[in-house]
């Protein structure tokens, strides 16, 4: 174990997997000479050379398709989206090519590709650069979707994603890159996809949250302890496939659930989790599952509006209190 940043953990995962498997290569805008727009690929060009660290022009659909084609014939590309917002330009390649080729070919071809990069809001990047992008992917059969919240998870899950034989959408966060934490340096250490983790044990209510919202939920949990509310926080880590057992298990124990998500609320990840939890733990629920979500608006630039756009600790705490005193749900937004 060593203390390193989330960014360094990703970098280490890439280096280890590139050393381990000659078929793994990194491709995207500014990943080489520039060492990555967010420095996640720092040093890779120097270490592995231009054959395996490939700078591309701005052509998301083109170079994502290049990755898919290369994967079809046996390579294992790690495609960097400088930010995931730009993946919309490559969505057809991801949804209609990457996700479906294995199925359409009756299992003859597969697409072992990882598409990674930062997603979600950062600091005043405004509407086109601050979107929770997972919503475009986790619905799609054939894709796996990962959102790693800690340096340890970043490393362990990225390694699993690279070793996975299926297309994996791996969405990081600009706001977490600098965060430090304990990370295993064992090259054999991985975290399997599809396993949620309990970040904090509690008995009264289960809060399901990932990335920045998970940390906000942890703060809310701490602040509520004195009020005698014991909060359990579950981080799904992988959104597809989702770890039903851990999430449902926790709710069966606490009898209450709050789902927090940074993105707009309508038809977001929280909808699936809430629906799912209710289906499978209905009789154990003492209150309806609450969703605390981002406002249903594009992301504004102004700092004060931006702050108000995503769920605050206060709103999370209110929601937790509401379910614990099982009142009705917060007005729909």
């Amino acid at each position: 174990m060593a203390v390193m940043s989330y960014r360094e953990a990703l970098n280490l995962a890439l280096r280890e997997e590139m050393k381990r498997d000659e078929r793994v290569f990194v491709i995207g805008e500014e990943v080489g000479l520039y060492d990555g727009a967010y420095k996640v690929t720092q040093g890779l060009l120097k270490e592995f050379g231009p054959r395996r660290v490939v700078d591309t022009p701005i052509a998301e659909s083109g170079f994502t398709g290049v990755g898919v084609g290369a994967a079809m014939v046996g390579l294992r590309p790690v495609v960097e989206m400088m930010t995931f917002n730009f993946a919309l330009l490559a969505l057809d390649q991801i949804v209609n090519s990457a996700a479906k080729l294995h199925y359409m070919s009756g299992g003859q071809f597969s697409v072992p590709i990882v598409i990674r990069g930062p997603g979600g809001p950062a600091h005043q990047l405004a509407a086109q650069h601050s979107q929770s992008m997972e919503v475009y992917f986790y619905h799609v059969p054939g894709l796996k979707v990962v959102r790693p919240s800690t340096p340890l998870d970043a490393k362990g899950l990225l390694k699993s994603a690279i070793r996975d034989d299926n297309p994996v959408i791996f969405i990081e966060s600009e706001t977490l890159y600098a965060m430090k934490g304990e990370v295993s340096e064992d090259p054999d250490f991985i975290i399997p996809l599809g396993q949620a983790v309990v970040r904090r044990e509690g008995t009264d209510v289960t809060v399901i949250a990932y990335m920045g919202m998970m940390y906000r939920a942890m703060e809310a949990a701490e602040e509520l302890a004195p009020e005698g509310i014991s909060v359990e926080v579950v981080d799904p880590r992988t959104l597809r496939p989702m770890d039903a057992t851990t999430i449902i298990g926790s709710v069966r124990k606490t009898h209450r659930a709050v789902v927090v998500e940074a993105g707009a609320g309508f038809a977001g990840m929280g909808s699936e989790i809430a629906a799912f939890v209710t289906e499978h733990a209905f009789d154990d629920l003492d209150a309806p599952v609450e969703r605390v979500t981002g406002a249903n608006a594009p992301m504004p630039y102004a700092r004060n509006l931006e702050r108000a756009k995503t769920p605050t600790k206060e709103r999370i705490m209110e929601a937790i209190r509401r379910v614990c005193h099982s009142g009705g749900s917060e007005p729909w937004r």
Binding site: F25, R51, T56, P57, A59, S61, G62, F63, T64, G65, V66, G67, V68, G69, A70, A71, M72, V73, G74, L75, D92, Q93, N96, S97, L101, H102, Y103, M104, S105, G106, G107, Q108, F109, S110, P112, P141, G142, K144, D164, D165, N166, G194, P241
Partner: protein, 326 residues
């Protein structure tokens, strides 16, 4: 006039073209009988392109195409029985019945599909070219596409990447002058497709898409450039589709006249080639009959095989979604 090819080759080229033609005529019948569903896009009239191009490829070279790909798949060497079974949606189809007419894949002959989003398979082809170079083998990939994908951005992205990175890709445009009901001059400010490569320094040539030997020559040169010095090429094969866009579209619809279609049919690549080999005395009438007889047997065999193949088992709905079955 003489032809500087061997009789064997003549037999093979003729046989492959006739095979594709008969195969699709049968498929059309089967479609009418409801044995084939969905969209069915026939390649009839364009056979010389896939056959000519494939005839200069090695078996380990790759080919990728759009949704009008029966001909490319068969030319590459796929078993007509399994192709027909796929069109029928049966368990013995190339793709277990999951792909259908628009999504034929055959790993055993390096045929990479069968793609139904216009323009989307071009970046895939560049990716295969990238992988070839990455592994430093001397394979090449031929990417067939219609002129309808030229206005699509991915065509240009793929062209630039193939030139910038020097990828062994042969961009082979099958310009049949229509994208569904849209004549090429209503879709593109420049209708000479081969010219689109010039700005990237990609060698470009146009060729009579009805002349299987001409296509052979042009593609052979391109394959050579690709194998030897990893240079991409852009070839425009001027061809014509004798049938409608798909079985749902009449042959002579509003967008083109019956007369035009009839006139074009006089360029039938099979008729022309048969004539030439006969005139050149390369094959005898008996040889030709033998070729056609053999093809007919194989097609009958294919339909029998497809008819006999059962539906895929229900549980296959949920298999092949993920590689590890997860």
């Amino acid at each position: 006039m003489t032809l500087n090819i061997e009789a064997d080759l003549a037999r093979r080229l003729l046989g492959d073209m006739v095979l594709i033609r008969r195969f699709e005529e049968k498929a059309a019948e089967a479609y009418a009988l409801g044995k084939i569903g969905g969209f069915l896009h026939l390649y009839i009239g364009e056979e010389a392109v896939a056959v000519g191009a494939t005839s200069v490829l090695r078996r380990d070279d790759y080919a990728i195409a759009a949704y009008r790909e029966h001909g490319h798949c068969l030319a590459k060497g796929s078993d007509p029985r399994r192709v027909m079974a796929e069109l029928y949606g049966r368990r013995d189809g190339l793709c277990k019945g999951k792909g259908g007419s628009m999504h034929l894949f055959d790993a055993s002959v390096n045929f990479l599909g069968g793609h139904a989003i216009v323009g989307a398979h071009l970046p895939l082809a560049a990716g295969v070219g990238f992988a070839i170079k990455y592994r430093s083998t001397d394979q090449v990939i031929v990417c067939y596409f219609g002129e309808g994908s030229v206005p699509q951005g991915e065509f240009h992205e793929a062209l630039n990447l193939s030139a910038l990175w020097k990828l062994p890709v042969i961009w082979l445009c099958e310009n049949n002058r229509y994208a569904m009901g849209t004549a090429v001059d209503r879709a593109l400010a420049q209708t000479e497709i081969w010219k689109y490569g010039q700005v990237y320094g990609i060698p470009g040539e146009s060729v009579d898409g009805m002349d299987v030997l001409a296509i052979r020559d042009v593609v052979a040169r391109a394959v050579d450039r690709a194998r030897k010095d990893k240079t991409p090429s852009l070839i425009e094969a001027r061809t014509y589709r004798f049938r409608g866009h798909s079985m749902r579209d009449p042959a002579g619809a509003v967008y083109r006249s019956k007369e035009e279609v009839e006139r074009e049919k006089l360029r039938d690549p099979i008729v022309l080639f048969r004539q030439r080999v006969l005139e050149a005395g390369l094959l005898s009438a008996a040889d030709v009959r033998a070729v056609e007889k053999d093809v007919n047997d194989r097609i009958d065999d294919a339909t029998t095989f497809a008819d006999a193949s059962p539906e895929p088992p229900p549980e296959w709905l949920l298999t092949d979604v993920y590689r590890d079955g997860s």
